[in-house]
């Protein structure tokens, strides 16, 4: 870089070559030109340089060596530059250059990793360009101030299309001579560029609003990136560091309440492996998947919900693509939205080593509720049985099942010695999870790398319920030749789960854990619920090992043209084994021991390649065009073995060949997706933005007649803040309206649904076992207890994509001098051709066949606010607010004849959706005109208070007062109706962050779900609620009497308001002062889920998408202590 040749090393690759980078800033440092720069930020690279009266070139080469930037300059230009001195302080390159600029008058401009150096034009008349006309020059001066009235030094003031320009001084003052009638352009990094016509004035004072860096943020969209200001679609994002403080088995669990428009349900947060439900803009499919597609560094990974393989610590940012303009580029998989993960990349300069450790301590956030007083339990049992005309149980005898019930007297006197507090045997006092991440990153101008290692050792609340995982990720990139970069990313992930789950802590406290001989106590021969026996004797383990590798070439063919070629392979194996011993487990008892081992493996290959053309024509026309192709194949295989009937349980699952009966089962599924796609972005005068995308997808999963689908979208954006009439209002720093429409698809069904498949069973002819095959196969079960087989296997050659068309109207706004960002989106989403399994009339010999039929709509709005309330002084205070509202409605589920829905006495057209509950075969329904998952059942109007003259089982005082009973007091199925809606009216979150200059920070995240109904089965069971039952003395209108033989049906009595407000996280952190070897450090404490406000009878108000309660214990509260060190 010693000569002019290097001046040509200008990297014009611009945005689209660097899909891996998510945000960087245009560094028009001290100079008024727009420059879209990529690479590391000069503010982020800090160095310690000490120079005394040094030559400028020496200064540059010093900085080059230390920071990895290249200075580009003409040697001659620097001849007149004075020598400089730099104090021995650690400071950012940005600050260094500011310093140098002030000493020398040089100006800098960053393009990628290059810093272009220019000599400041003189403020002399002679430098006015030679124009045809003679123009009078006048002197203009003034002061440049920021929004707070503080002067801004270093602001570049220039006149477009001339070499005239100057820089404001320390007091923000400037003066220069310009042709009359000129327009002055004031620009400075971090502030909104101002264009002001002098209109004959000689004094022009200027206020420059802060230009929040976000305006030039670059966001990842499919197969490319786009400047946030140029975005026409609805995309929300979050930085990895914002979620890294908490621990979870999978990354999705960390996103709750963090991203506008992303709904995350953690309905069972005790599972150390995680497992969440993730939705974007509601449920739009009933049998296909509703989970967004997760794409990591451009490679589709699968459905969101339980992705354990992604270590949250390697995430640099997450972008959520919500509207059709953004998702249509993923065509047949875009209908549920797309979550784009970008991982951290290597850096240049001295290697950084970091270490993040977290210890999580989990306890229940509320009290457990179970019988603690045996006499009270007995009293209520007696009452309950008496009301059913049954003899009391606790009379010192065995009942027919063989359970001995001690007499009430023996319990009272203590003659019955047992009193077991089962939670002591089921739960850990404190579940401890360690989460350790360490890594190193570094590199030079040619190569950068990052390696990170994660170790997670998670404990569930129940004894021996564990999940451990280790992940290693390596990312490396290297510039092979000038225009060609190779990138690789690879890693592996291994997880080990010991499942010991669902144990009964509410077991009868009158029975001991052990018999006198040390064997486990069973209440009767059919008692398989002793939690200690299950914990110690049962085996249920699952392990997995996954690996991936990506190889990518970025080839900048010519200035406007870039080609990306990428291949990714992912493969993994899983194994699991179980053993249910005789005597203590039901399966084991039934079969004399039951054990099995399974293994599975998968290979996924993705190849994609896309060409990007990016050019600005005649200054006003920015065009970025992209065209590409994609091929994905996935293959999975499984082998499952089960043995039943073991001579003894010594070897447990270790010798399956010793089993009397052995089952072997193997499977293989394969699917292929082939696609072509294209996108065109066109921007006129940076004001009018247009985006068109199209994708064609061919999937093997669909019928011979419908393999291919086409998914177009279009969007327009209007940057109002670029228009004078808005600009003149002097209110908006940024204002953009955008609107999009498009179609995306869902192919979320298993392969092989379009071909006919035979079923298989066993048949005995005398002693001979035949394995038999024929038309019709089991595809699922239905009815109470999933008792009845559903038969499928009929082909549907016409099966095709589910299509979602979506319209979005959005507004992005920044006001108050950059202090408040607001994003608002209204959307309307209509999904048609629903992939559903329609019922067939049973005389066909089939129950269901896949079809495309029905429509669902989702509409709603999303509001996101980010505000920097206090930005200077001792405190900094930020607040974020998210509000999402979605309305879901089933419009059509086919005609009754073709789809098989039911029509009730009220004319409601519905189809059961999901399994049975209580004594009903179903609770959730898809009903036309109602939201998905609506509750269906009987209406209950309080409790019957007075004994009728002719009482029946259901019409006595103390019974639930069912509306619309038959005259004989039996339940009338025709009286059933829609009794609740589990979909919330809105979800919302508030995130407050306070930082103090001493290094302390404090933040709170509140999360609220409002207006949903819960079907609370806990309402019936919770011990502490029994005191509110109806009795003659306490004629409650809330709870029925106790009656042992009462059958409960899905009724409105169980339906409760499921709204809750939760303090999701409270974080207190302290940033360590940097010392010699430590670049940065932070210690923090987080309390997660400490308090929830709700009115349900459930232990945990956060329930699954279908609104069913039932979690047997309260939400787990986690206290995390964390330490982050960077060397």
């Amino acid at each position: 870089m010693k000569n002019l040749v290097l001046l040509h090393v200008t990297h014009m690759t611009k945005l689209f070559t660097h899909v891996f980078l998510i945000q960087c800033f245009s560094m028009s440092l001290l100079f008024a030109w727009d420059g879209n720069a990529q690479g590391k930020k000069i503010e982020d690279v800090t160095l310690q340089v000490s120079l005394l009266e040094a030559d400028i070139e020496k200064a540059f080469s010093t900085i080059e060596k230390m920071a990895g930037f290249n200075f580009v300059y003409a040697v001659d230009d620097l001849k007149q530059v004075p020598k400089i001195s730099i104090e021995n302080d650690r400071q950012s390159v940005y600050d260094l250059l500011t310093d140098i600029s002030q000493q020398t008058g040089l100006r800098f401009r960053q393009v990628n990793n290059n810093i272009h150096v220019r000599v400041a034009p003189a403020t002399a008349l002679g430098n006015i360009p030679d124009s045809g006309n003679f123009i009078d020059n006048i002197e203009v001066k003034g002061t440049v101030r920021d929004g707070y009235g503080e002067p801004i030094p270093g602001v570049t003031i220039s006149v477009p299309n001339t070499a005239i320009g100057t820089v404001s001084d320390m007091d923000g003052n400037y003066a220069l001579v310009v042709p009359e009638g000129s327009t002055l352009v004031f620009s400075f990094i971090g502030f909104v560029t101002q264009r002001i016509a002098i209109e004959g004035r000689s004094l022009v004072d200027v206020v420059m609003p802060e230009d929040m860096a976000s305006l030039e943020e670059v966001v990842v969209v499919g197969y490319g990136t786009v400047k946030k200001s140029d975005l026409t679609g609805s995309v929300a994002s979050i930085k990895g560091e914002d979620i890294a403080q908490n621990s979870a088995g999978n990354f999705e669990g960390l996103l709750q309440g963090r991203i506008s428009g992303l709904q995350v349900i953690n309905s069972n947060n005790d599972n150390p492996q995680g497992g969440t439900t993730v939705r974007i803009r509601g449920v739009s499919s009933i049998n296909g998947s509703n989970a967004p597609l997760v794409v990591i560094d451009g490679v589709p990974l699968g459905d969101a919900g339980g992705i354990n393989a992604v270590n949250p610590n390697i995430i640099a940012s997450i972008e959520v693509l919500k509207d059709a303009s953004a998702t249509a580029i993923y065509g047949s998989r875009g209908a549920n939205g797309v979550i784009m993960i970008t991982t951290k990349k290597g850096t240049t300069g001295k290697p950084n080593i970091w270490l993040n450790t977290k210890m999580n301590f989990s306890t229940f956030s509320d009290d457990l509720d179970y019988w603690k007083d045996p006499l009270q339990m007995i009293m209520l049992s007696d009452e309950s049985r008496e009301n059913a005309d049954l003899d009391p149980l606790y009379i010192g005898q065995k009942d027919p099942s063989g359970t001995y019930y001690p007499s009430r007297e023996d319990v009272r006197s203590g003659a019955w010695p047992y009193h077991t507090n089962w939670p002591d045997y089921v739960f850990r006092d404190v579940a401890v999870t360690s989460d350790i991440n360490a890594g190193v990153q570094g590199g030079n101008q040619l190569s950068q790398y990052i390696v990170s290692l994660g170790y997670y050792e998670g404990q569930g609340m129940q004894n021996k319920d564990d999940y451990n995982k280790i992940s290693l990720d390596l990312s490396y990139e290297h510039k092979i030749v000038d225009r060609l970069t190779v990138r690789t990313r690879s890693g592996f992930f291994t997880g080990k789960r010991n499942i010991n789950y669902g144990m009964e802590y509410s077991r009868n406290l009158l029975y001991p854990v052990y018999n006198g001989d040390g064997s486990y106590y069973k209440m009767n021969p059919q008692d398989f619920g002793n939690p200690v026996a299950l914990t110690n004797e049962r085996i249920n383990k699952a392990n997995n090992l996954d690996g991936y590798a990506t190889l990518q070439f970025d080839w900048n063919i010519a200035a406007p043209l870039t080609l990306v070629v990428r291949g990714n392979a992912r493969a993994g194996t899983g194994s699991s084994n179980f053993f249910n011993p005789p005597k203590y487990t039901h399966g084991g008892d039934l079969f004399d021991g039951e054990g099995g081992a399974s293994s599975s493996n998968y290979d996924n290959l993705t190849f994609d390649s896309y060409l990007t053309y990016s050019k600005t024509i005649a200054d006003d026309h920015d065009i970025v065009a992209m065209v590409g192709a994609n091929y994905e194949s996935s293959l999975s295989r499984g082998l499952h073995t089960t043995g039943r009937g073991f001579p003894n349980d010594i070897l447990k699952d270790e010798n399956l060949s010793g089993a009397e009966i052995q089952f072997i089962n193997n499977s293989r599924t394969q699917s292929v997706l082939a696609s072509g796609f294209a996108r065109m972005n066109y921007t006129y005068k940076s004001r009018y933005l247009f985006t068109f995308t199209a994708r064609g997808d061919g999937s093997s999963k669909f019928g011979d007649n419908n393999k291919w689908g086409f998914f177009p979208s279009g969007a327009i954006g209007w940057r109002l803040s670029e228009e004078d009439f808005i600009n003149n209002l002097d209110f908006f720093d940024q204002l953009k309206l955008r609107s999009s429409w498009g179609i995306s698809g869902n192919q979320g069904i298993s392969p092989y649904q379009t071909v006919s498949q035979f079923g298989q069973d066993f048949y005995y002819l005398g002693e001979d076992e035949h394995i038999i095959y024929g038309v019709g196969r089991e595809i699922g079960r239905e009815g109470l207890g999933n008792r009845y087989v559903q038969w499928g296997g009929m082909a549907n050659k016409n099966l095709r994509w589910e299509k979602t068309s979506q319209w979005d109207l959005g507004l992005d706004m920044t006001i108050f001098g950059g202090r408040l960002d607001l994003t608002f989106d209204y959307y309307y989403k209509r999904t048609s051709d629903l992939l559903r399994q329609q019922f067939l009339n049973p005389s066909t010999g089939f129950d269901r066949v896949w079809t495309n039929d029905g429509e669902i709509e989702n509409k709603g709005f999303e509001l996101g606010l980010e505000s920097r309330i206090i930005t200077r002084g001792k405190f900094e205070f930020d607040a974020g607010f998210i509000f999402n509202r979605n309305r879901n409605k089933v419009l059509d589920i086919g005609s009754q004849k073709s789809s098989g829905y039911l029509v009730d006495a009220n004319g409601v057209k519905y189809e059961p959706y999901g399994g049975g509950i209580l004594n009903d075969a179903y609770l959730n329904v898809l009903a036309i005109g109602y939201p998905v998952n609506s509750f269906y059942g009987y209406k209950v109007d309080g409790i019957i208070q007075d004994m009728p003259s002719n009482p029946t089982k259901n019409t006595r005082a103390g019974e639930l007062n069912y509306v619309g009973l038959n005259p004989d007091g039996t339940l009338n199925p025709d009286a059933r109706m829609i009794i609740g809606d589990p979909n919330p009216d809105f979800t919302s979150s508030l995130n407050l962050q306070l930082r103090h200059q001493t290094g302390f920070d404090f933040s709170v995240l509140l999360y609220a779900v409002y207006g949903n109904d819960i079907f609370s089965t806990r309402k019936l069971e919770r011990a502490s609620l029994q005191q509110y039952r109806w009795t003659g003395e306490n004629p409650s209108n809330e709870r029925p009497s106790l009656r042992a033989d009462r059958q409960y049906f899905a009724s409105s009595w169980f339906v409760e308001d499921g709204s809750f407000l939760r303090i999701q996280n409270i974080t207190l952190g302290y940033t360590l002062p940097s010392v010699k070897f430590l670049q940065s450090g932070r210690v923090y404490v987080v309390a997660s889920n400490p308090v929830t406000f709700s009115n349900t009878s459930e232990f945990d108000a956060e329930v699954g998408e279908n609104g069913r309660g039932g979690s047997p214990y309260p939400r787990v509260m986690v206290v995390t202590a964390g330490l982050e060190l960077k060397f």
Binding site: V672, S756, Y764, L765, G776, Y788, M794, G845
Partner: protein, 490 residues
């Protein structure tokens, strides 16, 4: 590239190549009979529970059929219907595909096709007796539109059944094997079909006006029953009543013309093995019964000890009392239970219903021992369904022949085996048939015939006295709601 080929799955396209393929597809058509939705439970729910044989005693866990509190959504109606059609669909698949096979011996091909015809007829006969007019599917349904088959009237269904059975008779040979039908079974079944037509017409049972004449039908019933009684020597009346129900005898028993073949060695789900004994037995952990009908010294468990029963099929004590005391068939209902050492544990008495002793309290009816398996593998048993027994054919012959020498001979053979004397010899044809019907009630009790027998003599309302019959469904159960919804009857 986008073509799908399912892995590890057979379909029409790659199956039906070998003799074994054909046999296995045929057995797949038999298989629904073994399932609880059909033969192994709901058949009893639809036919025996709604009659005087059983009573619920209000003990909970009962099907709505105990009280006739039924409607088109009653689950037994749906699943019985569905499983009959499952078997029909699979039989249709055999008929369509095996007929096309080239590389299989003609004799076997004929046998397989004959059995498929038999099965299709057997299922439609179940359907027409249960529901009356039902959709007639003669082919495997290949698309949603194909599924909309019109409801055939009863006459059309019977003519279809008869045609299939004639085909079955012409194609099959006599070859006894547990779990499969042969030519004799086809004769037995067709005689039952004619008998049903004859008696229904004769008694004016609803839906059978169209039948040409009952005597003509009785003659045909007699001819075909005669083929079973006189024209083969593999099947016959099993002399020892207890042996009929001895699971280890199912395989070779002369009595069994068509019997299921569930096995205690069965893998997989219930249906591959039978769990019927528990449906009858008491809710007590271990129940031992006398090992024969006479001796009480040797005892055997109902099924392997330690497995308690569900008390689902509860014999009506009044029905028990209708059996003559000397009738050995009365002893097929258990009134004494024992401990493993042979000592008496408890005896049934009607008063047990009020007992405070938990064991007695559980023993409030004499339970059926026709389905027991002392050699069971846990709850997995070989207790099978007696779908067509020789005695049934003998009584069919007697009913069809009337008070003739042969008629008397065959009913008396059945009575003698049960330890009863001969019928009076001077009965009028009406009295004689009355006697046969009474004999059928006792002989075939608890074997899945009850309501069908009452329907074909037009006596459902008169004879079902321990529950209130829902009149609209007395003769034909409603078509299941799901079928009506998706394939409306017009």
């Amino acid at each position: 590239m986008l073509k799908e080929t399912p892995y590890g799955a057979y379909s029409d396209e790659n199956y039906f190549n070998t003799e074994a393929d054909a046999l296995n597809a045929l057995l797949y058509a038999y298989d629904p009979l073994n399932n609880i939705e059909y033969g192994a439970r709901f058949l009893f729910n639809l036919t025996d529970i709604p009659t005087n044989q059983y009573k619920s005693y209000n003990k909970g866990l009962e099907t709505a059929l105990y009280t006739w509190d039924v409607n088109p959504n009653t689950e037994e109606f749906l699943y019985f219907f569905k499983y009959a059609y499952l078997s029909i669909s699979r039989a249709n698949s055999v008929l369509e595909n095996v007929a096309e096979m080239q590389n299989i011996p003609t004799r076997l091909q004929q046998q397989f096709l004959g059995e498929a015809y038999f099965l299709r007829a057997f299922n439609y006969f179940m359907l027409v007796r249960a529901y009356g007019s039902v959709p007639l599917h003669q082919k495997v349904v290949q698309s949603v539109n194909d599924g909309q088959a019109p409801y055939a009237d009863i006459e059309e269904i019977y003519s279809f059944i008869l045609k299939d059975l004639e085909m079955a008779i012409s194609m099959m040979e006599i070859s006894k094997q547990q779990g499969r039908a042969d030519k004799v079974a086809a004769h037995a079944l067709i005689s039952k079909v004619y008998l049903t037509l004859a008696s229904s017409k004769m008694t004016g049972s609803p839906g059978y006006d169209w039948v040409s004449g009952h005597e003509e039908m009785y003659d045909k019933a007699k001819d075909h029953a005669g083929e079973v009684l006189f024209n083969q020597n593999i099947y016959g009346l099993e002399p020892d009543l207890a042996k009929i129900y001895d699971v280890n005898h199912h395989n070779q028993g002369r009595e069994h013309i068509f019997i299921t073949s569930m096995s205690r060695e069965g893998k997989g789900q219930e249906g591959n093995y039978s769990q019927l004994p528990q449906m009858y037995s008491l809710g007590l952990p271990a129940v031992y019964i006398s090992s024969g009908l006479n001796s009480s010294n040797n005892v055997q468990p109902i099924i392997e000890s330690g497995q308690s029963g569900f008390q689902y099929y509860r014999v009506d004590n009044d029905f028990y009392h209708q059996f003559a005391d000397e009738d050995l068939r009365k002893r097929l209902m258990v009134t004494s239970i024992y401990n493993a050492d042979g000592s008496l544990l408890a005896e049934w008495s009607e008063d047990n219903l009020n007992s405070s002793n938990p064991t007695l309290f559980a023993f409030y009816y004499p339970f059926v021992r026709k389905y027991t398996d002392p050699y069971s593998n846990g709850h997995r048993t070989s207790a099978n369904l007696y779908l067509i027994r020789f005695a049934e054919v003998a009584l069919a012959y007697a009913e069809a022949a009337g008070p003739t020498t042969e008629g008397y001979y065959w009913i008396n053979e059945v009575r003698k085996r049960a330890g009863l004397g001969e019928l009076p010899s001077n009965l009028s044809p009406e009295e004689f048939r009355e006697a046969v019907w009474r004999e059928l009630t006792f002989e075939l009790a608890f074997e899945g015939h009850g309501l069908f027998e009452l329907r074909r003599i037009n006596r459902v309302v008169e004879e079902v006295t321990n529950k209130t019959v829902k009149a609209e469904y007395a003769y034909f159960f409603p078509i299941p709601q799901r079928e009506i919804d998706l394939n409306p009857k017009n």
